[in-house]
Symmetry: C2
DNA sequence: TCTTGACCCTCCCCTCCGGGGAAGGTCCAC
DNA sequence: GTGGACCTTCCCCGGAGGGGAGGGTCAAGA
């Protein structure tokens, strides 16, 4: 199948498929005589895995490493488990940071809602930040 | 004061100060005869506002708009209030998305911790994603 | 006076994950 | 044969700067 059909099949864009190939997540894709890419069922399978890996929050670099391990003939499962652990810790930190930021923003919002803007000191640009 | 001193005074990097100037958040900075930037107290004041605006989660574009309003001679406070409201909604959405992702990742992590990696199907790359 | 080290300058490439679009070739149905 | 959909490569764009090359400047000590 051609790139547009493959992209639609896995819910990605044509741009993304070319990008993954360029970045080495896909092996060099077969071409027709006129230069069009031809995607095999196996490559589509690989794209589906990339999609699942993305859904798990992995970066392309992490996904690429998992694929590399599998391509070497090994099972990437223990590596995936480790990465998921790191990912969990990372997510917890991100959520904590965003939550703290949300609290700070909410406080600013409260403050600005209860005070007259006219009292703002120009030298401070905006008194509520 | 020179760029390094100004950067240290407001807790930013030298790179950041040059970047803000290039992007128009700072008016053209005065130069010495040899071309070194010279920061006035007023400019340092402006940098401190930029820092506070960053801490409130505003992007440089949003900060720039606030500065533009103040430079026009108006009070940016009502604009800031609107932006803070948008920011709150945006943060809530981000937190919700990250929390959902965290749940999904935790489920993967549980699943992979309870099943033998040896059972993994190579055709699926990694059975746990 | 000379040197040394810290500081400064501009310029260019890099991040992450593609999106947007230009210029041009190919395929298929009507 | 022609129109439109599809494909190709190539290049620039974002946010917020970081890293480094190559070279100029400043102040203190020998």
């Amino acid at each position: 199948m051609r790139i547009g059909e493959a992209a639609a099949a896995v819910g990605m864009t044509v741009k993304a498929l070319r990008f993954y190939e360029e970045r080495g997540l896909l092996p060099a894709v077969r071409r027709t005589r006129s230069g069009y890419r031809e995607y095999s069922a196996e490559t589509v399978n690989r794209l589906e895995f990339i999609q699942r890996s993305k859904n798990a929050g992995f970066s392309l670099a992490q996904t690429q490493e998992i694929l590399r391990i599998r391509d070497t003939g090994n099972s990437p499962c223990s590596h995936v488990r480790d990465e998921l652990g790191v990912q969990l810790a990372h997510l917890d930190q991100q959520i904590a940071e965003l939550t703290a930021l949300r609290t700070a923003v909410a406080e600013h919002y409260q403050a600005i809602a209860t005070v007259e803007p006219a009292d703002c000191d120009p030298g401070r640009i905006c008194s509520y930040l």
